[in-house]
């Protein structure tokens, strides 16, 4: 299990070297979106409208932060469960998204699309929301402000601690990791 320091945007080469269980410290710009924002982005794409950010090489973080306390950059900001975004994720991979940050298992359609488009799925520790917020140095709402915690935000992150949970070679840590420790 290797350790990598990654900077955004990600390239195919960045993604291809990552294997499940590797730990990653991520720095750069990432975008937040969850259920309602994904629905709106994909419906917009279907109507020929552009996305609110440059998707090429981008990473999307599935998060709905708590309200920001005065003086802080952002509220607590841990990952939400990913499977609810499964219906939308392949569409974003087709047009250049390179990574997803969240928690929990993905379905086969997502994993196939990840292999096809060279995309990595990075796990952030669910519930470690105050710790993750510390890595977020800047936060701007860039679209869908009416969605509140679900609005699309641009985040500048530094050394965000992540683990490769699904790689573009078909590896899935939720399956492989468990196999290693399951006592039957």
């Amino acid at each position: 299990m290797a350790e990598y320091i990654l900077k955004t945007p990600l390239t195919d080469a960045d993604v291809q070297k990552l294997r499940i269980g590797d730990s990653v410290r991520l720095s750069g710009t990432i975008y937040t979106a969850r259920d309602a924002a994904h629905k709106r982005m994909v419906e917009g794409l279907d109507k020929g409208q552009p996305l609110p950010f440059d998707i090429k090489g981008s990473l999307v973080y599935y998060v709905g932060p708590s309200p920001t306390k005065p003086g802080n950059v952002i509220g607590s900001a841990g990952p939400t469960t990913a499977y609810r975004m499964d219906p939308y994720a392949p569409r974003l991979m087709e047009i250049g998204m390179k990574g997803m940050i969240a928690k929990g298992k993905r379905n086969d359609a997502v994993k196939e699309a990840m292999a096809r488009h060279k995309v990595v799925y990075l796990g952030a520790t669910g519930g470690a929301a105050a710790l993750i917020a510390k890595c977020i140095k800047k936060c701007d709402i860039i679209a869908y402000e009416d969605l509140g915690p679900e609005a699309v935000r641009r985040l500048e992150v530094e050394d965000m601690p992540l683990v490769v949970v699904t790689d573009c070679h078909g590896g899935d840590l939720y399956i492989e990791g468990r196999k290693q420790y399951e006592v039957r």
């Binding site: 519930g127 509140g148 949970v165 492989e176």
Partner: protein
Amino acid sequence: MRTVKAEEVTEALAKVAVNANYDIGPEMLRAFDEALAAEKSEAGREVIRQIQKNARIAREECVPYCQDTGFAVVFAEVGQDVHVEGNLTDAINAGIRKAYSDGYLRKSILNDPIQRKNTGDNTPAVIHYEVVPGDKIRLTFGAKGGGSENMSKQAMLKPADGLEGVKKFVLETVSAGGANACPPLVIGVGLGGTFEKSCILSKKAAMRSPFHRNPDPFYAALEDELKESLNKLGIGPMGYGGTVTVLGVNIEVHPCHLVALPVAVNVNCHADRHGEVEL
């Protein structure tokens, strides 16, 4: 008859709710220490270290431990000799409203499961009332995360399924949904009663400290046995594989009908945020 003012309830509950969201409490911290010592996978240990750091930051900086500050669940044990001046349900909801607004907690409650508009203040709470002897009001607050709640299940087993059936159902429920529920988990099992009673019991159990033991030695032993078998599932912290999937199992039991064996499993995450106040 003792009198308690509705405003006192509001103030006290608001404090408990904010504090539970910022400070995971000494028992959960002790459970994390034990988990770190017991976990065999390096990825799993890294997750636990992050959880410990997170708990420290949340407490020291007075920010929510998890961004999902949950559905407010309140168990209200109301002494039959206490008179509440004002409306108790309104007072409880006012406490939640105050906590979630003043404490910068996330508002995650929708007005209707189909129409889905945010109520804007995280109310209404789910309140379970019980009338008890005495002249006190005891409120137990839990902030129940949606991710782990979604992995919970209930089954009306056949009496013939017996103890083995109960064990199997608990194992299957955690095996299927555990990885998505932010393990290491606290598992609440409600056994017996009617359909709804088993669910309420499981919630009560899930909101307890993982070190709580059922006073009946038979069920205390079952709690320990289930913990051991659940930790053999291999799910591990955050589902990355490991030897600590659950921090504890709590069982609550109620008499049941001769044709029934209801069992409910309420899954709680490591963000097992709860607190109590007596008025």
